[in-house]
Amino acid sequence: MDLAMAKNVTISVNGDALEVPGGTTVAALLQLLHVETAQVAVELDGKVAQHERWCDILIPPGAKLEIVRFVGGG
């Protein structure tokens, strides 16, 4: 891995600061946080990150993410 990629960066997840390795993808972040991916939508800097691209989308330093869990009960 590129040294620059391995350096930790700070991002924000649902308002909380979090340090992750540089070059972390959305999919890797969800795995790191043990998030059940079938039930969530992810916003990256105010825009919806398409589910089918989660493996490719790199999270830039300082990014603001929202992980929104949807539930079906009512």
């Binding site: 079938a38 939508a41 929104v68 539930v71 079906g72 009960g73 009512g74």
Partner: protein, 338 residues
């Protein structure tokens, strides 16, 4: 507005956000409540008390004793009589306000009836218990330009978000496909009774603002009442490539995406769900506290008297003890999730 109504709604009329003109808009509005369970029954009472007398109440289920913990509008007599929720709700609403014009509709909303049942409403409140109906409502609302307000609640966690066509993102922008596999439901994961009323209160609050034509920022609101707190943030913009609001393809209104159902034997219904694979061991663990369950890697059998459900690894299910497709869908939504 007559003198009696001026008195009845005086505290709202004095509130600057509503005023006399807003109150008149509420009295003139016609609103649909899709699903009259924990969310919907609360919404119905709150909206009626606020002056929305023309309510269309849609629900396919009957009141049961285990509903009374969180479904504020119903009582033991409704449960003993197994009254249809839509009709029970309309009866109770008349006791709150004898001028209530609530229209009960005992039906399972589907592509074939949604146009007729929800025709002419100004707003739709989500009180459903499954994703399939929500995607159908989203198609219908976006196609006709009618606002709807999503709400969901399980355990101690809930979420709500308004969808205002032409102004906000739609449900499919944020969440293009329903989740696959076993989902937590109020039957399997339980639910805190004030969670549903909290989410329903937020939904009604947004509904009142939309009906009164008040400008406010559209937010996604999430709540975890068991220590997780509350979070609100602006909705993301609509996606230009969204199939529903971007490309205006309303596949669910055309019946696509609907899980097909067929009669199977003399007293059974087969649900041909394609949403699998279902983790049967996880499902067994969730259902064990609720009744007799037997499972292997291929199938799970669950007794929920007087019915018996057999769920297969691919998500398909057979519900024995009924020929009612709506009831079979309801049992599936409750115990497997949809």
């Amino acid at each position: 507005m007559n003198e009696r109504d001026r008195d009845r709604y005086s505290r709202q009329i004095r509130f600057s956000g509503i005023g006399l003109s807003g109150q008149q808009r509420l009295l003139d509005a016609r609103v649909a409540i899709a699903g009259c369970g924990a969310l919907g029954s609360f919404q119905a009472a709150a909206l009626l008390r606020a002056g929305v007398r023309r309510l269309v109440l849609v629900d396919r289920d009957y009141v049961e004793l285990n509903n009374l913990q969180r479904q504020w509008l119903y009582d033991e007599e409704d449960a003993e009589c197994a009254r249809p929720k839509a009709e029970a709700a309309a009866r109770h609403l008349l006791r709150i306000d004898d001028q209530s014009k609530a229209e009960p509709v005992v039906a399972d909303l589907d592509a074939g009836n949604i146009g007729e049942i929800l025709d002419g409403v100004h707003l739709i409140l989500d009180g459903t218990d499954n994703f399939e109906t929500r995607y159908l409502i989203n198609d219908f609302a976006v196609q006709r330009g009618i606002p709807w307000i999503y709400g969901g609640a399980v355990g101690s966690y809930g979420i709500t978000m308004p969808i205002v066509p032409g102004s906000t993102c739609c449900f499919a922008c944020l969440y293009p496909q329903p989740p696959a596999g076993v989902q937590p439901t109020c039957e399997t994961a339980g639910v805190v009774n004030v969670l549903t009323s909290s989410i329903a209160s937020f939904q009604v609050s947004v509904a009142l603002q939309l009906l009164c034509e008040c400008q406010s920022e559209s937010c996604v609101t999430t709540i975890d009442l068991w220590g997780g707190g509350m979070r609100q943030r602006p909705q993301p913009p609509a996606r230009a490539d969204c199939k529903v609001c971007g490309r205006r393809r309303f596949s669910r209104l055309e019946g696509r995406g609907r899980v097909p159902i067929s009669l199977c034997g003399r007293n059974a219904v087969q649900i041909h769900s394609l949403r699998g694979p279902v983790d049967l061991l996880l499902l067994k663990k969730q259902l064990l506290p609720l009744g007799e369950v037997r499972a292997n890697e291929l199938a799970l059998r669950f007794q929920v008297p007087p019915y018996e459900m057999t769920i297969f690894h691919d998500g398909r299910a057979i519900v024995k003890g009924t020929t009612d497709a709506g009831l079979a869908r309801s049992l599936y939504a409750r115990y497997v999730g949809s």
